[in-house]
């Protein structure tokens, strides 16, 4: 029997090879793909587990601070700290610490912005001419937002250099009668002996009429060539150098932390660059009257708050100072004895010649400020900013809604509150946050004073996985980059950074950190501070996590629920989250910055769970799909093998072979083919694993033979049964019967259609084979799309999707190839049985192309029917799995439908080409 089977296989080696190739492809694909899918699933689980825990597992915010947008989309905004200045009581914080499972609770109490000013020397020595007396003016051009925002140039004063002697006027300890127009300056003794007051300044600094007034324009810096070391101004220029000063008003965000908790959370103490880290015991201390530098006087008693300052302010501001030389006539204006404002106006009318440019960055200014902080800095007011609100733009992006802040928010506590603080010019630009001012009430006898005990470098903070990092706004600004080509070009490929606009879209991270224990000092001097609930957010890390990712997330979930129940605060689980990108449509600024489309890194919650669920669904679906496609392909091949032997089986029945023998014979033949294919497949699998370095366990290779035999056996049973039930007359019946009813044929497509109708069962089988492949492809594409939409919106999801994509592509390719091969197989037999008809068409003068079009037309007919049915079937299955989301499912169905038709036409073209190689006369003679 075995010998007979073997001889049958050899005699029909072409068809046997085709079936064997099918079994080989199917068994190898099944073994390797299912193994690869399993491996890929394990890899994904590993990736998720490795990236499960960011710096903190749970974020606790004041009740109501979670926006509707965050709730509806499962997001945490990057700038969640902004706009939250308190809201959690210390009692609630203590409750959180006591909850079982809370390993660490790190609070941040946002206090507010303080304005600090610093004088930056502008050295003009190199711009001087040999002239005995000369006047230079200084003009500031401030830019920000990567140079996109350019504020109007403002005068920051003038420098007067004279050969004459200068004598300072006024000074501490001198009593003079002061009127509103009393000025002091320097006395210059002219060569004719006349004394004039130069560099005049009002004795009483007038209140600013606007927070953005050009108040520095009246500043004059007078230098005598007789004694260049006699410094003018704040006195930071090197001996022998002359110049003026740029006063920079720098907003600094102050926050209070628990130094111990922050050390445990991110190791903040390890980043201290100079000085020391904050101690748990650090709090505001009273210090007695302090000597004032450069004089014999002393200041009032102070309440000194220990602070830790960042070394990087993350502020994008640049001041370009233009040094202008004025004509000699300007010296005459200096000598005219004008009041300060009159002199500034007169000098502004002179024609300037630009002679030098000096650039001062925010970083330069901040470095100067740090030195000042280490010597303490007084506070008389601070500001808090509200949260940004968004509206949905027409393009789907989030558009921050602009707000207006009245000048009254800049009222100074000095001079009986009748004037304004000098606000940073950046704050005159468009704002998106409501500012609130907290004024010192002066009820305390002590002035509040910030005293830097050390500096920390945020770049030394430990790196967290980029796939699961959560916002650490305590240390970094939000990550915002251009979302489209125009915005990227406008920003020069750089991220957008915060600036000195406290109402701006981007809020700087706290530059100054103090301890929670120092908060009472602010509560004492600034009654508006949220004394009852000073803490803004608490970041929680959970202890004792164990088990699988799902189990760990469940444990974190239980702790989060307990926090919510105990405190009533808003709770977000950040473990298992991943960064995602939200598009921000930032409106154009009022000083030149165009509207920008920006990508801001937010956090998508529960990404880990979504990924794990999606991967599990997809693995199961892939397993089933691969099995169905392979089995159907093999069944089709086995049917084809039996069909080609229809005459032979009929003759055997005529000769008296019993049905049972025919059944065993046919099934045995298929099983033998499966065995041969399995042996070859084992070798092929090993080769593929080595060649492509697949991560597939070797024991999987050993499965190829049993899988091949099993698939062959399963697919051969029905064809063998059909063969056993063949009738003797099948031996003489025509392979393809004529249709029962004639249909008129007037074109080639019509002939193809009529031919399809002649063998409807066969055409239906081919279409069904294709339909299974297309349905599989539709489901696969829909699953992939759903997977992508579900998880790719986050960094971790995108990473995972890339990891599993290779297996997806292999599976999709297999579905298409096997489906097309099934159609080609059926088409080949279909057309081969009617080869003489095609030969007749050639004999009566049809060109090869015309004949091919009939074959391709038949293929296209099967392709359209099979693809349509398959796409609809796939759509139905995908809907069952994923739910009725037509917007999600339509694209995969259409793509699979088109792919089905294309591959069928390609397969039919190949079959048509092989048919055309048949000899015309011999084919005609075959009938």
């Amino acid at each position: 029997m075995l010998r007979a089977l073997w001889s049958q296989l050899l005699r029909r080696r072409g068809r046997a090879a085709a079936v064997a190739a099918g079994i080989l492809v199917a068994s190898v694909s099944f073994s390797l793909l299912t193994a690869a899918t399993t491996t890929s699933t394990a890899q994904v689980q590993g990736i998720v587990a490795r990236n499960l825990r960011p710096a903190y597992d749970i974020l606790v915010r004041p009740p109501g601070s979670t926006t509707a947008l965050e709730s509806s989309k499962g997001l945490v905004r990057d700038n969640y700290l902004s706009g939250i200045f308190g809201g959690i009581t210390l009692q609630q914080y203590a409750q959180i610490q006591k909850i079982s499972g809370v390993q660490l609770a790190a609070p941040i109490a946002m206090i507010g912005y303080v304005l600090q000013d610093v004088s930056i020397p502008i050295d003009v020595t190199s711009a001087l001419t040999p002239a005995a007396s000369q006047v230079l003016t200084l003009t500031d051009n401030r830019t920000t937002d990567r140079g996109l925002t350019r504020f109007s140039p403002s005068s920051i004063g003038y420098v007067y250099v004279t050969a004459d002697q200068l004598q300072p006027q006024g000074g501490l300890g001198i009593t003079i009668h002061v009127t509103p127009t009393t000025v002091i300056g320097s006395t210059e003794v002219l060569p004719n002996g006349r004394k004039v007051t130069v560099c005049p300044a009002y004795f009483n600094v007038p209140n600013l009429t606007s927070p953005f007034a050009d108040y520095q324009a009246q500043d004059g810096y007078c230098w005598s060539r007789q004694d260049l070391n006699a410094n003018a101004g704040p006195g930071q220029l090197s001996p022998g150098h002359v110049g003026g000063y740029l006063d920079v008003v720098f907003p600094m965000l102050v926050a209070a932390i628990d130094p111990v908790a922050e050390q445990q959370l991110v190791g903040l103490g390890n980043t201290v660059k100079s000085g020391r880290y904050l101690r748990p015991t650090d709090s505001a201390i009273s210090v007695g009257p302090q000597p004032i530098s450069g004089s014999n006087a002393t200041s009032a008693a102070q309440l000194q708050v220990p602070v830790l300052a960042t070394t990087n302010p993350f502020v994008d501001d640049t001041d370009q100072i233009t040094v202008n030389r004025l004509p000699a006539s300007a010296v005459g204006l200096i000598h005219r004895g004008l009041l300060p404002d009159q002199l500034a106006a007169a000098l502004a009318k002179e024609t300037p010649t630009s002679v030098k440019r000096v650039t001062v960055t925010a970083r330069d200014a901040y470095q100067q400020l740090l030195q000042k902080l280490s010597n303490s800095s007084l506070l008389d007011a601070y500001w808090t900013s509200g949260p940004t609100t968004y509206r949905q733009s027409s393009g789907g992006a989030l558009a921050p809604v602009p707000t207006t802040n009245l000048n009254s928010v800049w009222t100074t506590s000095l001079f009986a509150g009748s004037g304004f603080e000098a606000a940073p010019i950046d704050s005159s630009d468009l704002g998106f946050r409501q500012l609130n001012e907290a004024l010192r009430t002066n009820t305390s006898t002590q002035l509040l004073n910030l005293h830097a005990v050390g500096e920390f470098d945020p770049s030394k903070l430990p790196g967290f996985s980029t796939l699961s990092q959560v916002p650490l706004e305590t240390y970094y600004p939000p990550q915002v980059t251009g979302a489209d080509a125009a915005s990227q070009k406008a920003l020069g490929g750089q991220p957008l950074l915060p600036n000195a606009n406290m109402a701006g879209y981007l809020q700087q991270p706290p530059l100054i950190l103090t301890t929670l224990r120092s908060l009472p000092a602010f509560e004492q001097d600034f009654p508006t501070v949220n004394a009852t609930a000073p803490v803004s957010v608490v970041r929680v890390r959970v202890s004792g996590l164990h088990g699988s990712v799902r189990q760990q997330l469940a444990q974190i979930g239980r702790v989060a629920a307990a926090i919510r129940q105990a405190t009533g605060l808003d709770v977000d689980i950040t473990a298992g989250s991943s960064p995602t990108t939200e598009t921000i449509a930032l409106p154009a600024g009022s000083d030149g910055r165009p509207a920008l489309t920006l990508d801001e890194s937010w956090v998508r919650k529960a990404v880990a769970l979504v990924i794990l669920n999606a991967v599990d669904d997809k693995s199961l679906a892939l397993f089933v799909l691969i099995l169905v496609v392979c089995a159907f392909f093999l069944a089709n091949a086995a049917f084809a093998a039996v069909r080609t032997r229809r005459t032979e089986i009929g003759v055997l029945r005529c000769l008296g072979w019993p049905r049972r023998t025919i059944f065993v014979f046919i099934l045995g033949e298929v099983l033998l083919t499966g065995l041969v294919a399995g042996v070859l497949g084992t070798g092929l699998s090993a080769l593929l694993i080595v060649l492509f370095r697949l991560e597939v366990p070797w024991w999987r290779v050993g499965l190829v033979i049993p899988v091949a035999m099993l698939l062959a056996g399963l697919s051969g049973i029905v064809p063998a049964l059909l063969a056993a039930h063949a009738q003797p007359l099948d031996a003489v019946a025509p392979a393809v019967r004529a249709p029962r009813r004639p249909h008129p044929v007037r074109h080639i497509a019509g002939l193809a259609l009529v031919n399809l109708r002649r063998a409807p069962a066969r055409a239906a089988l081919a279409a069904a084979a294709l339909a299974v492949g297309i349905a599989a492809l539709t489901v696969l594409l829909a699953l992939n799309l759903a997977f992508a939409q579900g998880v790719v919106g986050s960094a971790l999801g995108g990473f995972v999707a890339n990891q599993v994509r290779a297996v997806d592509y292999l599976s999709a390719a297999l579905a298409i190839i096997l489906g097309a091969a099934s159609v080609a197989d059926v088409l080949y037999i279909n057309l081969r049985e009617r080869a003489s008809e095609f030969a007749v068409l050639s004999a009566v003068g049809w060109r090869r192309g015309h004949v091919a079009r009939v074959a391709i037309g038949e293929g296209a007919g099967i392709g359209i029917a099979g693809s349509l049915f398959g796409a609809v079937l796939g759509l139905g299955i995908a809907e069952l799995i994923l739910g009725p989301d037509l917007s999600l499912l339509a694209a995969p169905a259409v793509a699979a439908f088109v792919a089905g038709i294309v591959v069928t036409i390609v397969a039919a073209s190949i079959v048509a080409a092989t048919l055309q190689r048949l000899p015309l006369v011999a084919t005609l003679a075959e009938e």
Binding site: V736, P742, R746, G845
Partner: protein
């Protein structure tokens, strides 16, 4: 039409060479009717296949209307086949098409300067099958199927018709009817007719008779 030293050799299933046509030289003037007779395997059908551009001679030259058909490209050979009508012994009708559509098959993919359907109906009427136009081949007798095949051979207004044993699958009476139809149409339409046949009645009705033996012409009589 002329043939000069045309030969064709086939390789048999057991690897032996069989010379089907051996150095045949012929000259056939337009409008002549010629029967080719001989025993089975004498090369009659092969000679018709070579003349009908369905096969290619190994040696020699076949010229039709001054064109050496060995030099034609594939599409030109297809064009030549449209100018030659072919009637097969086994009819070779397409079973899925009606008699009318079978007659139309040669012109189906082409534009013509005549009404194709009217032409097909006229030919079916000419072969006596006007009332059988909508019948499938399976619904026609052998003689009727061969008449449809003859109509199909004439649909392109061919100057030459090649008929390979046109009565070989028919009984004597039906065969005689087919012979009569062929003869009438040839006379009416001035067609050059080459018929490979064992049928003496056909030979009798033709202008010239060629006898083949082992692929060679052993007799050529008017």
């Amino acid at each position: 039409m002329s043939l000069v030293a045309v030969s064709k050799t086939y390789r048999s299933g057991i690897g032996e060479s069989v010379t089907a046509v051996d150095a045949v030289t012929l000259d056939i003037p337009p409008g002549q009717s010629l029967t080719i007779t001989g025993r089975s395997g004498s090369g009659k059908s092969t000679l018709l296949h070579l003349i009908g551009a369905m096969d290619v001679a190994d040696e020699g030259q076949i010229t039709i209307d001054g064109t050496d058909i060995a030099r034609l490209r594939d599409s030109e050979r297809a064009a030549l086949r449209r100018r030659i009508g072919f009637v097969f012994q086994r009819f070779h009708l397409l079973p899925a098409l009606t008699a009318l559509d079978n007659v139309l098959v040669p012109v189906l993919p082409y534009r013509t300067d005549f009404d194709k359907v009217a032409r097909a109906r006229e030919l079916l009427a000419a072969v006596g099958l006007a009332d059988r136009a909508q019948h499938l081949p399976s619904q026609l007798s052998g003689g009727e199927q061969q008449r449809v095949a003859i109509a199909r051979a004439l649909v392109n207004h061919p100057g030459i018709v090649l008929a390979d044993e046109p009565t070989g699958n028919l009984d004597t009476h039906t065969g005689a009817e087919i012979v009569a139809v062929l003869d009438r149409l040839r006379t009416e339409r001035g067609i050059t007719l080459l018929v490979a046949t064992h049928d003496a009645s056909i030979a009798a009705s033709c202008d010239r008779t060629l006898v083949l033996s082992d692929g060679s012409v052993v007799s050529d009589t008017d």
